[in-house]
């Protein structure tokens, strides 16, 4: 824990008294930028289409982004510890395939769902063991399991696309009774709150930042680095398999290519939400805002007849901005510090 405290004292102003300048700097957080961007994206949406500011838009945006958003939560925790998990979308596909396969063979749906979650835990544990016990780089391992899990999904389900899931399950593609809230979105919000509380208000959550900032220091401060990372990968596997179940019910069918290629979208959301790729920095609130911005932009661009592929440009630019802007700010403050030093040197 000392690392975290150290980090915080380091970021406090040296004099102790907060000047206007410091207070301004507190406001210039990445999250404030995201709030502004979100408002802009809402105005943009409202200006492109009169139908944008409707509850329907809200519902469909929640429906489209639900799974990606849910998978972005464990991804956030993993990236904060300085690792990455690229196997998330394959895990979603594997879970969807297992669910479809078991349902096709007449299993009880609840039991099938339980098996899916267990598959998710096992898959996450495999990632975790390879990364923490064998000490292999997470980016390479999870590219491997990305291929492996998708491959197993193909073996399990082949080219079958089972349908005919019971109505009580597929009704999650409809709004929650009487409202315009998508089930996916509601689940995401609840989970985001839980993740936010755990990450920002518990010793466990704080220890993730410590690991991301200085792994060795965290270890010598008594944080069980390997165990925590292992648990995060298991959690990621579990949640991605859960997202796979949701996705299957929402589509009312299952296929082995479910969620193909979504891993990079999930990473993009976490990074755009202000999570540092080097670990040690990031908030759930930022990721939540990133989801809102991308969902709202997607809705308005679709209203404006921009093709889904062309919308990629927006995602890409936002990603670049998310690394370039904080960097420019750092460069600016570095330059200013240098200037100040030079001035002091000139005075003496």
């Amino acid at each position: 824990m000392t690392t975290v405290d150290e980090h915080e004292t380091l970021s406090l102003p040296e004099s102790g008294s907060r000047t206007i300048d410091d207070r301004l700097r507190g406001l210039v957080r990445w999250e404030s930028g995201l709030v502004v961007l979100f408002v802009i994206s809402l105005f943009y949406g409202a200006s492109t289409s009169q139908y944008f500011m409707s509850l329907q838009t809200f519902f469909f945006a929640g429906l489209n982004f639900g799974e990606i958003a849910i998978m972005a939560l464990p991804m956030t925790l993993i990236i904060i510890t300085g690792e990455i998990d690229l196997s998330v979308a394959s895990m979603l596909g594997l879970s969807a395939s297992v669910l479809g396969y078991l349902f096709m063979h007449g299993w009880n749906l609840w039991l099938a769902m339980l098996i899916c979650l267990i598959v998710g835990i096992v898959g996450g544990a495999l990632n975790g063991v390879l990364i923490t016990r064998l000490g292999l780089p997470s980016i390479a391992v999870t590219i491997g399991t990305l291929t492996l899990y998708r491959g197993i999904a193909l073996i399990v389900l082949g080219s079958n696309t089972p349908t005919g899931f019971p109505e009580w399950a597929t009704k999650i593609s409809l709004p929650i009774g009487g409202s315009h809230i998508a089930y996916d979105f509601a689940i995401f919000v609840v989970m985001a709150i839980v993740f936010g509380v755990v990450l920002h208000m518990t010793p466990f959550g704080r220890s993730l930042f410590a690991i991301g900032l200085q792994q060795e220091t965290a270890f010598f401060s008594g944080i069980r680095v390997k165990r925590i990372k292992f648990l995060l990968y298991v959690l990621s596997g579990l949640i991605c398999s859960f997202a796979g179940i949701l996705y299957t019910f929402q589509q009312a069918s299952s296929a082995s290519n479910t969620g193909l290629g979504l891993e990079l979208n999930v990473v993009a959301i976490a990074l755009f939400g202000g999570v540092s790729i080097f670990g040690g920095r990031g908030t759930i609130f930022g990721v939540f805002l990133a989801v809102c911005i991308l969902a709202s932009l997607q809705a308005s661009l679709t209203d404006a007849n921009v093709s889904a592929q062309a919308q990629n440009i927006v995602t890409g630019c936002l990603l670049l901005i998310s690394v370039l802007v904080p960097n420019a700010r750092d460069g600016f403050s570095r330059a200013r510090a240098q200037l100040r030093r030079r001035k002091v040197r000139g005075a003496t």
Partner: protein
């Protein structure tokens, strides 16, 4: 880890005589892939003798050619402890732009078409390089962003259109499908690229700098290596090869839609890693990466020839990748131990 990497770099650069063990291990790494390719080939041949027919072998060579080309560029980038995820999109964009040139002018010369592809890729690579090297932002994020941006630009240019195979001149299609003395031209192109870059990576100082940067970026700066310029060049080079790969893609398939090359980036990274290039930079060879691509492709086609359901391809490729990473880790740990013992002996003696 960084200390040992540094030791590795120092021992292999400064004392060529006593680094025989390290060189032997590196040679061993590539030999292991060759043996694996031989085993897969032999086992499949026993099951289905037509696997060794000329047509099948030609397919084995031409299939992975474009991936090999991309892997060469990716290797350079990964050796500097960076990654280029934009290559799949670059390939798609370049393939389509070359296609447009042919649609407007059916007599467009083949060599010039390859140059156009190379140029498009180079332009994308330069953008990557400038942002990563000079704005000092993590390459994973930048190239992920560029992956989306270039694919989006591609989609806008393509706009639902598809290059018509009939508008591609026969000479260019021949380039993608013909053989010279029984060897596919595509494969020859990629072998030439591997040979040239492989030679450069062993010989030229500027190329050796890439290893130094990947082993220890801070030490590389202190050693006076122009780190930013080298990283910039690695990205520009990777982009250019991906662009050339796009032109070859058009030659091979004669048609391009806006999805060409989607997902290639992870295939290429997988091939490079299977080929023994450390994902955190500082070690690995271009030859290894090319062999890695060849191995993954051979397995793919062996499964088809052995009449194993093609559904198994991906799972086996994934398992292979994990084995390769674990194997490299094992070798690295052993090397580290041996170097430590050697170092202790030297200090005492």
């Amino acid at each position: 880890m960084s200390i040992t990497d540094e030791q590795l770099a120092v021992s292999s650069n400064a004392r060529p005589t006593s680094s025989s063990f390290v060189t032997r291990l590196l040679g061993f790494r590539e030999l292991a892939i060759v043996v694996a390719i031989g085993l897969v080939f032999g086992a499949t041949f026993l099951k289905n003798s037509s696997f060794a027919s000329a047509a099948s072998v030609q397919q084995l060579l031409s299939g992975p050619s474009i991936i090999i080309l991309l892997a060469v560029g990716e290797t350079l980038v990964i050796i500097t402890r960076n990654v280029d995820l934009s290559i799949g999109s670059v390939l798609g964009l370049s393939a389509y732009i070359v296609g447009i040139f042919f649609e407007h002018n059916p007599h467009f010369p083949v060599a010039l078409a390859l140059l156009v592809g190379l140029g498009v890729g180079l332009a994308c690579g330069v953008v990557n390089g400038v942002i990563v090297a000079y704005a000092r932002v993590p390459s994973l994020v930048v190239t992920l962003g560029m992956l989306y941006i270039i694919r989006g630009i591609d989609a806008i240019i393509v706009n639902g259109h598809q290059i018509d195979p009939s508008s591609i001149p026969q000479s260019f299609v021949n380039f993608g499908s013909n053989n010279v003395i029984g060897i596919p031209i595509l494969f020859i192109v990629s072998v030439v690229a591997v040979a040239i870059v492989g030679y450069a990576m062993r010989t030229f100082r500027s190329a050796r700098d890439l290893y130094a940067i990947g082993s220890n970026p801070d030490a590389a700066v202190l050693a006076g290596i122009p780190v930013q310029r080298r990283i910039f060049s690695a990205f520009a080079f990777s982009g250019a090869l991906a662009g050339l790969g796009g032109a070859l893609w058009l030659a091979e398939f004669a048609t391009v839609a806006s999805t060409a090359g989607t997902g290639y980036e992870l295939d290429v990274v997988a091939a490079v890693v299977v080929g023994g290039v450390a994902i955190f930079g500082g070690s690995g060879t271009v030859l290894g990466a090319a062999l890695g691509a060849l191995l993954l492709n051979t397995i793919d086609q062996a499964l088809v020839a052995a009449r194993v359901s093609s559904f198994w391809n991906q799972a086996i490729a994934g398992a292979m990748l994990l084995v390769a990473i674990a194997f490299d880790r094992y070798v690295a740990l052993r090397t580290e131990r041996v170097l430590r013992v050697e170092g202790a002996r030297r200090d005492n003696g």
